[in-house]
Symmetry: C2
Subunit: 215 residues, 2 copies
DNA sequence: ACAAAAGTGTTGCATATACACCCATGG
DNA sequence: CCATGGGTGTATATGCAACACTTTTGT
């Protein structure tokens, strides 16, 4: 490869994180509002440009911290978006990740050097994002839905100990459909995704719930 | 993103194709031998640099054609490799694809502008590839093995019409294990991966075989 | 005793596995 | 008629779906 060939010039790498949570039975995504052009004032997914001396995992964690103040999340690479016109600045290939988090356990910054706002948004009400992020988000939702029963991708959605009805509601919200409680419990236990912690949560007015943990 | 920030300079995109076939019951991969530095004289997977005006699918097909003369294959994106030191020339992120082909139906070039040799190699005997292609290849093999029973990823491994014993041998070779013939047939038919074409192949010395096609 | 929410077990169905015999052909 | 290789069916086990009643607690 001739590094001076103009066909190879000005290529960049975006790292993007679709970060999800569930709150009050609603499936939500984290968005930030851009402070600068391009797409100034637009809401987008968390992300930014990868430096040429870091791998994309590192870049994604750095961008997450810089733009939200959040650290230490679990994440998973799931796709690439490479349309040469997806960014107006220069050719940017997007390496996209998915993550899930317990929103009650995390503080985030409403404003940073490059963002003027940040918040969780109900999936149902998100549209008109900057760049191609509507498409990336939809792709992430599909990916998440396909994987919640076979992997422990939701393991950071709750605190360490959680009740099965909580998890059940989260699944129903993410999948947008009802799931039988008995089969749900059996399936997750059999597939070794969660296990009984032996602890009990006492709640007034109700029968106490067992507390589970992700394996 | 400040396009003039040196941290964003000199990044490139490799597109790489792990192209497989099965011949005489052996699972093989297509390799090309580099004519130029870096890795001059080394065998590597098919691939090259993506232009800044094409998406990675387009680039992969172009590179395939330029370096082998092969056109019109089916392929599937499956991973990204982003170690900043994976190429000695400059930072190159690798977008990697997998493909499968009927080697008897395709002519390839032994030499091109950038390659001095090209051939199919038994998977068991491949090592010492240039760049990080040993790792990429192993990852591709794992991916292929995980997906041959759930997708029609092998649909171009044979001519349009093929017999079930042929396909059976191919699966055994790829998975490196024996598979019961009866269950194999039932599974692929039930999952609508292949179907009976109604045609028969006459072979001397044996009972004629039914010919199947991928759905 | 009743309302609210959590816990549990059985049955049927579909899918995957294990396994052995018959059939068509050419020599 | 036999050797070679291709074709088929049944019985079992496992995973998923459908389904209703009992338990605990607070009021």
């Amino acid at each position: 490869m001739d590094i001076n060939n103009p066909l190879y010039k000005n290529q960049g790498i975006h790292v993007i994180l679709s970060l999800f949570t569930v709150e009050d039975g609603k499936f939500k995504v984290f968005l930030i509002k851009r402070k600068n052009e391009p797409y100034k004032g637009k809401w987008i997914l968390i992300g930014g440009a990868c430096y040429n001396n870091e791998d994309t995992d590192t870049a994604m964690k750095r961008e997450l911290f810089e733009k939200t103040g959040i650290k230490d999340i679990n994440y998973k690479f799931y796709n690439v978006f490479s349309d040469p016109n997806r960014s107006p600045v220069c050719r940017m290939i997007a390496v996209v990740y998915i993550g899930v988090i317990d929103k009650t356990r995390v503080q985030f910054l409403k404003e940073t050097e490059k963002t003027q706002d940040a918040d969780w948004f109900d999936i149902e009400k998100v549209s008109g994002l900057g760049y191609d992020h509507d498409k990336i988000l939809q792709n992430a939702i599909d990916y998440l839905r396909r994987n919640i029963f076979d992997t422990n991708i939701l393991k950071d959605l709750f605190p360490k100990y959680f009740t099965l009805p909580e998890l059940h509601k989260a699944y129903e919200s993410i999948l947008k459909k009802q799931i039988d409680r008995r089969n749900f419990r059996k399936r997750l236990l059999q597939q070794n995704i969660i296990k009984d912690s032996g602890k009990i949560e006492e709640v007034k007015g109700k029968k106490p719930s067992k507390l589970y943990i992700f394996v």
